[in-house]
């Protein structure tokens, strides 16, 4: 076996880790603080002006001298130079911290790994034991054990190490459980891999990052525990740790003399090392286990265009929503903005169902969220307008918008499991929409209204008292629809409402939406990646590709006379059971990434009919009459 190759892989990973870590300010500061202290500990004999034996020349006048040129940190109760003791004390802290943490991490890591991996009785037993040890207060137990044994450095290391593993065991166990349940572990089993292989190749690499962060934390806790034990008088009398220095100073009158230096500097050392470790741990956590640092309540970016205008086109009674040339960018600090949606227009009439079709990453969800200005904080509407009953939603104030949200335009989100609050009952969440937007609604009628809404979507009244996790996937989606109907809105945006559902449940939801539209005269925007679904219920279809409109037309035109090559290819790629033996044609390649869009037509790299112009020039939207729009150079040529 060639052993050099895996080693290189390892090196590459280390380099890529360092690349990210070196950009993390918190982590770097922590690392620098720690490095400084470690250097001081290593070169202590060179740094310290006095050795501890210098106290042999002890004179009464040396006691508690304030900081001076010869004693930078002053002197202590025994007339010793505090700076020298401080420098040597770093050694004790680091030795205790690292060795005790080593013991804790090994015990906690092995217990957590074994418990998480084996599961069943073993897990139960080990975790019960861990929980028991976790509940027992650790410092009092350390005090008792050290009081009963000899307070030597070795004993202190062992006691701290042997009692400090509980959180590590818990953390490692839950991470092991999480990794073990992932599909790639099942796949490795299906391949025939044994436990040893799975642990070493699949579990450990994913537990390690968590364990590294945990280790840093355990070291800092061990140092804090050592200092506390020493301060309580249980330190090793033969070595002078920072805690020990504080114990002597506090116990021998530094307080009453006002010798603040004897109390301040040793404590400062402890804070320095623990803070260094904490910052390092925080930095490592951010690099090794990155989390999204954004959330839905962060302020959105203001629309670029501020001027308010009335709709230019005369609003017929039927038109409820008109989107004009809408463009949305995602702003990336230090990078050019990603053009997620560009120049998209469509109109929605009352009682109409429009299908918005596109693959993942084509900008369809971004477009829908932007209609109610619900974009994540990086998203910005850079151009275009959204007219709702003649009012431009992109420029009205948040307060005005909040009156339109849900009252006039509501949304049924994809994957309703997460779209409903797990700790509130479904009925309560539906009622909330009513009380928010219809303050005059009689209080005693709200429950009846909730029951009526649930009945409308086919959910029994007694289910309103239940929590979302007690619902099945299909029922949750129905509840979401009931909630969307709560304020009798004019428009419902359904964002992939059937995606994760089985075909039969999908058919149920589609039928429900279609019947509600007819019964209540709703206008619906139906977002989906599934062409078949759209064909079944839509009036008009907007096909998006890479953030732009590919084609927009009546549903019959889209399926029977598509003009854009993407629409044509997409329909051929869709399995059609009415022609069972027909081979599917696939579209080669993959949709473009938003941060790496082609210069010309965005579909050009995958297009079967591509020619030179497509690679250099982005096609404009061509109106083919009868509200049929396509963006393709070929359309222009044939017009």
């Amino acid at each position: 076996m060639n052993s050099s190759e895996p080693k290189q892989q390892w090196l590459i990973r280390l380099q890529s880790f360092w690349q990210t870590f070196s950009k993390n300010r918190i982590g770097l500061v922590g690392l620098a603080m720690l490095a400084l202290l470690i250097l001081m500990a290593i070169f202590a004999p060179l740094i310290a002006p006095y050795t501890s034996s210098s106290s042999a020349e002890f004179q009464v006048g040396d006691i508690y001298n304030p900081p001076s040129a010869s004693h930078w940190f002053g002197t202590d109760d025994a007339g010793q130079d505090i700076f020298s003791n401080f420098v040597f004390g770093a050694r004790i802290s680091l030795i205790v911290g690292f060795f005790a943490a080593f013991i804790s991490i090994i015990i906690g890591g092995v217990l957590g790994l074994v418990a998480g991996f084996l599961g069943g009785r073993w897990e139960n037993l080990l975790m019960r034991f861990t929980d028991t040890m976790l509940v027992i207060p650790d410092l009092p137990l350390m005090v008792v054990i050290i009081a009963l044994t000899k307070p030597s450095l070795l004993n202190i290391i062992f006691v701290i190490g042997l009692l400090g593993w509980t959180t590590t065991a818990r953390v490692v166990r839950s991470q092991t459980l999480a990794v073990k349940s992932r599909k790639f572990v099942l796949r490795a089993r299906a391949v025939g891999a044994g436990n040893a292989h799975i642990i070493s190749r699949h579990i450990l690499p994913l537990v390690m990052p968590i364990l590294v962060v945990q280790a840093v934390l355990v070291v800092s806790l061990a140092i804090l525990n050592e200092s506390a034990l020493s301060f309580l008088g249980l330190g090793d009398p033969t070595v002078l740790s920072w805690g020990q220095m504080l114990n002597y100073a506090f116990g021998r009158g530094a307080m009453s003399i006002g010798a603040w230096w004897a109390l301040f500097f040793p404590g400062f050392g402890i804070v320095w090392v623990v803070l260094g470790l904490t910052l390092l741990g925080q930095g490592l956590e951010q690099v090794l286990n990155p989390r999204l640092d954004t959330h839905h309540l962060m302020p959105g970016r203001p629309t670029v265009r501020k001027d308010r205008v009335e709709a230019q086109t005369k609003f017929t009674k039927e038109t409820v929503l008109e989107v004009q040339n809408l463009s949305i960018n995602y702003i990336n600090e230090g990078k050019p903005p990603a053009r997620a949606v560009e120049n998209v227009s469509f109109t929605l009439n009352a009682g109409e169902l429009i299908g918005l079709v596109g693959e993942s990453g084509c900008g369809k969800t971004t477009l829908m969220l932007s209609l109610l200005r619900l974009l994540p904080s990086a998203g910005q509407i850079v151009d275009g307008r959204v007219f709702f009953n003649g009012e431009d939603l992109t420029t009205i104030s948040d307060e005005e918008l909040n009156k339109i949200r849900w009252k006039e335009i509501s949304i049924v989100f994809q994957g309703a499991m997460n779209a409903l609050n797990p700790v509130r009952t479904v009925g309560d969440q539906i009622a909330e929409a009513i009380t928010r937007h219809m303050p005059d609604f009689p209080k005693d009628k709200i429950q009846a209204r909730v029951i009526e809404l649930l009945d409308l979507v086919g959910i029994a009244a007694d289910h309103r008292e239940h929590f979302p996790h007690q619902y099945s996937g299909g029922m949750r989606q129905r509840a979401m629809i009931a909630m969307a109907l709560a304020c009798n809105p004019q428009v419902i945006i359904a964002d992939e409402p059937t995606t994760a559902l089985d075909v039969m449940i999908q058919a149920q939801i589609l039928e429900l939406l279609d019947s509600l539209r007819k019964k209540l005269g709703l206008a619906i925007i139906f977002v989906t990646h599934d062409l078949g679904v759209v064909a079944e219920i839509c009036d008009k279809v907007l096909v998006m590709y890479g953030g732009v409109t590919a084609e927009y037309a009546e549903v019959d035109t889209i399926y029977n006379e598509p003009r854009h090559p993407y629409t044509q290819e997409l329909i051929k790629a869709f399995p059609d059971l009415t022609k069972p033996k027909k081979k599917l044609t696939s579209i080669p390649g993959y949709p473009p990434r938003l941060d790496n869009l082609p210069v010309g037509c965005r579909f050009a790299p995958r297009c079967p009919a591509v020619f030179a112009r497509c690679h250099t020039e982005q096609p404009i939207l061509h109106n083919l009459g009868n509200s049929h729009i396509a963006s393709c150079h070929l359309v222009e040529a044939s017009k």
Binding site: V143, L246, L263, H295, A419
Partner: protein, 342 residues
Amino acid sequence: MNRTRALLKKIAWSAFTVLFVIILNFFLFRILPGDPARAGIRDPRLKKEAVEMLRVRFGLDKPVINCFESLNPIKVGSCAVNPLDTQFFIYTRNLFQGELGISYHTNRPVADILAERLWNTVLLIGAGQILSIIIGVVFGIFAAWKARTSVDYSAVIASLLVWSLPTFWLAILLLFWGSNNGLPLAGKSTPGSSSLPLIQQWVDIARHMLLPTLTYTIVYMGEYTLIMRSSLMDVLSEDYILTAKAKGLSTFQILKDHALKNAMLPLVTVIAINLGFTVAGAIQIEAVFSWPGLGGAIVEALGRRDFPVLQGAFLLIAVTVIFANLLADLTYSYLDPRVKVD
């Protein structure tokens, strides 16, 4: 029905943990070299008869447990002794009668010494926990809400800083500060204050509590801030917050009705888990401020090698923590509808 069963299960488990602590406590003091028989009655001036009398008085003449005369050094004894006549049984029986032994130092029953001190510790930890949780939660909410702004960064850095402070050192610094500002520095009340009217007694106690509680609050609020922040960040990036926003709710309404309860739930578990660790802070604070609590009792007992007090204090602290942990656990399963009742 299921909830009752889950409740019983949790209580049973806590009872088992208490039993474990009792056994651990008993054997630690018999196995480790600091055997009370030798540590307490080591005085060379005592005559042999006097030593024997003391051994009988402290019950040390009995075998530790069946088959073992003593555990350090290990002396195998008869297994046929009446189990009711062993140190272990007598110790356990006394425990259930509320007896924790007799102090070597004062000859007073340990239970009497510790009873009052337990409440002082509970008072300190209770006040400190409540304050640090409230402050931590508020700071955490602001940090998460204003994520990636200077408010957030300062809250995180400040939290990491206070987390890194050794409790006793902060206590010393505050003691310094207090001594310059005329605050009482030691104990729970001014000597002789018991003759004052009740209101003034309370004011006196509150003044004494100020610095210890402040120390406790500062040391633990950082951790709660960080936990609340990350918990709320997780919640605020959930889809149901987007739903709430789409419903037209104001930011305040979203925080109040959709985010806070969800984000507080993980905090409750952390509080429960942390209880065992926070006792460490109380001991250090009591040591610095001479607060007459269990931690103070431990420190005093250490100095006097008064093992029955040490043993009793440890047991009392552990049992209190187990009980508080049970309470937090039950609160959690009451608050979260998702907790499976199996």
